[in-house]
């Protein structure tokens, strides 16, 4: 199948080095300490953060840093075929772990000893790149909750199809079976917190794809920063002048 047309357009009309349209909304749920809704094209994700609060299971409490707890789930209606998903299946356990690890790298956990931060990420609609979308949504929710972080974590996927590196794969491109690389980045420090790849790539191609994914992360980070600033300004208008 042809994933890049001779005109250099992909199936959904994007150029190879183009990310899908991003849409972020912050503080969508007022019961949670922080929440964010993120759309990356047709992938729609909702993330909520509770905490920092007391550790619910006392034996898990860490005396020198915060405990980060993460749960990933997919809505039954998120894919083409409605399917009931058990909570603890392999995929969601692995994804929870991946999200937790990349968030832990950013959160200044040593500032919040003996506390727990809960991150719940739910995929409402899956169209490829859920891993990246979940990480981005989780960062925004943490920022909304006011959890201290080194930097925002931005994540983006990239692949290699028809001899072209492609940024931010959608579901059709994802299921083509080519290599699929997910990167999470602390954009200001340029530190990679997550790097995963299915299948194999020659080293020189890999570097091109990795570079592309990192550029994608930076673009997404810039967009998320913009969304955070806009949200804060709106809040400032609603609240009136801040009294210190």
């Amino acid at each position: 199948m042809e994933y890049v047309s001779p005109e250099g357009l992909r199936l959904d009309g994007r150029r190879p080095k183009e990310v899908r349209q991003l849409k972020c909304e912050l503080a969508v749920l007022h019961r949670a300490d922080g929440s964010a809704y993120l759309e990356m094209g047709n992938t729609k994700v909702l993330a909520t953060v509770y905490g920092p609060h007391e550790v619910s299971q006392r034996s898990q409490s860490l005396h020198d840093r915060a405990l980060v707890h993460c749960e990933y789930s997919m809505a039954t209606f998120s894919t083409g075929e409605r399917r009931r998903r058990p909570k603890g299946d392999r995929r969601s356990v692995e994804l929870s772990l991946v999200i937790r690890q990349s968030m832990e790298a950013a959160i200044l956990t040593h500032l919040l000893p003996r506390t727990q931060i809960d991150i719940y990420v739910q995929v409402l609609q899956a169209d490829g790149g859920t891993r990246a979308a979940c990480i981005n949504a989780a960062t925004l929710a943490l920022a909304d909750a006011g959890v201290p972080m080194r930097d925002l974590v931005a994540s983006c996927a990239a692949g290699y199809l028809n001899g072209t590196p492609l940024l931010d794969l959608n579901y059709v491109e994802d299921s083509a079976g080519g290599p699929d690389l997910t990167v999470a980045l602390l954009p200001k420090a340029e530190k990679v917190t997550l790097l995963q790849m299915d299948s194999k790539l020659p080293l020189d191609t890999f570097e091109a794809v990795l570079g592309l994914a990192m550029d994608g992360c930076k673009a997404i980070a810039a967009h998320m920063r913009q969304a955070l600033l806009e949200h804060t300004r709106k809040q400032a208008v609603v609240r009136g002048p801040v009294r210190l």
Partner: protein, 193 residues
């Protein structure tokens, strides 16, 4: 670095370590001070009495969100008694000073902390009942489960209690309260108003 009250996001560079002291909501990465939360940046004069080295203005990021009040040693709290036994009364802390708490904090008033004098003759049952609202002072952070509270001062003790008839009782002495409806007298460690 730009506007005085610019909005910053985590990771944004605010200034150099040589220019500012890192305050709340910021952290140090290499030579730079970076924001760690979303909020407005604010620069204030160094704290008085700081050492010579810290004579740099303090840079902070402030995010309008107020942290929940947390009881500290010595602070006055308002608590509701939930359980009593012969050695202690257990109470849920409702307010620290004038601020309401958002989380659940448990406090314990031990028998020896109820009043200042004749502490060996104290009986919990004649000092508190479940449902009473008590003004108390935080003695210590206590154990892992509860704060230790004390009512061993004149102005500390029960401030609100209901009689069996369901009426708010009126204090008649420092250890008695009376129901205005049934005139029944109950024993409490009453706070002086």
């Amino acid at each position: 670095m730009g506007e005085e009250n610019a909005v910053k996001t985590p990771g944004d560079i605010l200034g150099r370590v040589s220019e500012y002291t890192s305050g709340r909501g910021t952290h140090v990465r290499g030579d730079h001070i970076c924001a760690s939360i979303v909020g407005q940046q604010s620069i204030s004069a160094p704290a008085a009495g700081a050492s010579d080295k810290a004579q740099l203005p303090v840079i902070e990021v402030i995010n309008g969100k107020e942290r929940s009040a947390v009881p500290e040693t010595g602070s006055t709290v308002t608590a509701k008694v939930v359980r009593i036994d012969h050695r202690k009364a257990t109470a849920d802390i409702l307010c620290v000073g004038l601020r309401a708490v958002t989380q659940k904090f448990t406090g314990i008033i031990r028998q020896q902390d109820v009043r200042a004098t004749e502490i060996d003759k104290v009986e919990i049952a004649t000092s508190f009942r479940p449902g009473d609202i008590v003004r108390a002072e935080v003695l210590s952070l206590g154990d892992a489960r509860a704060y230790y509270l004390s009512t061993a001062k004149n102005e500390l003790g029960v401030v609100f209690a209901k009689s069996p008839a369901g009426v708010r009782m009126v204090p008649v002495s420092w250890e008695k309260m009376q129901c205005p409806k049934t005139k029944v007298i109950e024993l409490r460690k009453v706070a002086k108003t």
